[in-house]
Point group: C2
Chain length 350, copies 2
């Protein structure tokens, strides 16, 4: 069902200018807005591809890893001069795939541009329209939400009544981890970097306590204040100094889920972790994980989160920036803590 | 069945002079030989205690932790001016316990002295004499052997054909880990610090390969040479630079058993661990453990090891120093890699 479009249209896109090198910090100028022509008929008969109009694009910290020329990761680097890729919510506007028709709403990996050709639409997931905001499909119901779900239930082995600490707690992943932990009957404290975020954690996201790590001269003392009895589970989104402080405050048989190391990615902390000997003293398990290893749980994740969201037991905070041209600034802001909640770019409403 | 001994006899003992402080390295002079009087009748009727003559004493790295004034560990610090305690093999020479009679051979925590009063003999285990050297009850069949057994089978989740790296591989724990891994069908490489140890690893202990880390200018390159396909299991006895190098050479879903951090205890490495981000990239699990959490497996450990030892499938290398007066030097030697194999002090043969 490929339609014919004679006219080429303009297609704004964000490209990566060149690889980041060691010591070269990510800046808005690492990326560039370009305008190309896009031909809807790029989906030729037999190609099996689809053309999508991108509605919402996701800014996720892992993407910075793709801006380096490092082949050893779980995902290949971006190609300099080419469009940046990431998770998005899109609308099918042309299709040669039997599984997608024009008008379908989909989520999956797309380009940071107005229109994208998806050559392998099998990686797209169709969105059944319901009462849930579309943009949540790159947040609460997307990769970050699933990261929180798999990380908390599968990696942290939580038990009711346990003491849970979440760093970057108002972020795309952390805010859901905290809520899942509360639903599970845990005591939950989060850290974040502004008073606005602390207020959200305590008054909107249901954390028992929250603190602004930037106002704590000594993170070890801060954790001792909030966890006089110690930490059973540390859901680590930042690495660095906070990880070192958490290590000395863990309880026996504590678990650390290593989800992200934003502090390391921004190169602001290169001292290394000093307190790993605590792993032995307290018999701690520390596990790095990726949500992609748990995809068999994805259906139950969607069911659980959608059900709890509709019952009002889970909320989700987004930081929505309007316009593709603002995507580079929004992305850079992730690493300075500028975003409040899950960072999303709205390219078009429909 | 307390016997009367009118005479007090001399009792040589090694005492801790004072706590080690940060930056104060362990030296022989941190300890001191003293001669006390010992009265066999110290075991009074109704006390339930036993008096033992100590035959073999064990030098174990964890003991250094007890020489610091740090209360937060899994075992309390020694008392300055008092005798050093550790695992030993001893002979009961007086008893008020219904479970032990004179002449029984026992193993458990005793003092670094010729004769000890054991107030709580329930912590002692009786040794059934067989063809196994008595001193092995503080090594192969003692805490280090059980550490290797529990650490390898329970913490590393080994699978046949996996690639296993062991540091401090000729030590009390490492040498058994390597042999267990070989029995399990793994490929095993060990690191150690002298050519004599490398020779033992390759020609006596059955490691597939071994290398002298002191002769490697770049540990990362050394590991890439021995594990071109990467490491599935790293049994870490040292921490520090070797851990950092192993982290970047782990395979996806690799496991690191954190058993000891001798490098940290000797304060020779304070740079901190840089490469923990590999935990995420490779989805690695890193687990600190203590053998004491696995005591339910102790009977099957003894049965398995004794059986394999008697069949000649497991060997064990000891470094035996004669005389209690040489205990401080032997203990200090653990932290400079002087010992070849499990370090034991022979106080008396029987």
């Amino acid at each position: 069902m490929v339609e014919e479009h004679e006219d080429q249209i303009e297609n704004k896109k964000i490209i990566l200018k060149g690889y980041l090198t060691t010591g070269l910090l990510l800046k808005e100028t690492s990326m560039e807005l370009k305008i190309d022509k896009f031909d809807f008929s790029v989906v030729s008969k037999g190609s099996g591809g689809v053309v999508v109009k991108n509605l919402y694009l996701s800014c996720d910290p892992y993407m910075r890893g793709r801006m380096r020329d490092f082949q050893g990761s779980y995902i290949p680097p971006f190609v300099p001069g080419s469009v940046i890729e990431g998770f998005g919510v899109s609308k099918v506007v042309n299709s040669d795939s039997p599984n997608f028709k024009i008008g379908d709403l989909v989520t999956g990996i797309t380009g940071w541009e107005e229109y994208s050709l998806i050559k392998k639409p099998e990686q797209l997931r169709k969105i059944e329209t319901d009462d849930i905001p579309l943009s949540y499909y790159v947040g609460l119901l997307g990769m970050p939400g699933f990261t929180a779900y798999a990380g908390f239930y599968e990696v942290c082995s939580p038990k009711k009544g346990e003491f849970v600490f979440v760093s970057a707690a108002s972020g795309a992943v952390g805010q859901l981890v905290g809520q899942l932990a509360k639903l599970h009957g845990c005591y939950v404290v989060g850290s974040a970097g502004t008073s606005e975020k602390i207020d959200l954690l305590k008054n909107k996201l249901g954390f028992d306590e929250a603190f602004n790590y930037k106002e704590e001269p000594n993170l070890d003392e801060a954790l001792k204040r909030y966890f006089p009895q110690g930490i059973d589970i540390y859901f680590d989104n930042v690495g660095g100094m906070m990880l070192d402080a958490a290590l000395v405050n863990m309880r026996v048989h504590g678990r650390i889920a290593v989800c992200g190391m934003v502090s390391l990615q921004s190169l602001s902390y290169t001292d290394g972790i000093q307190n790993l000997y605590m792993l032995i003293l307290k018999r701690i398990t520390m596990t790095g994980f990726l949500q992609s290893d748990f995809l068999h749980l994805h259906p139950q994740f969607l069911e659980f989160i959608i059900s709890n969201y509709k019952q009002g037991k889970i909320v989700y905070i987004e930081d929505m920036n309007e316009g593709l041209e603002n995507a580079p600034a929004a992305f850079v802001g992730l690493f300075t803590g500028k975003n409040v909640g899950k960072q999303v770019i709205c390219v078009a409403r429909d």
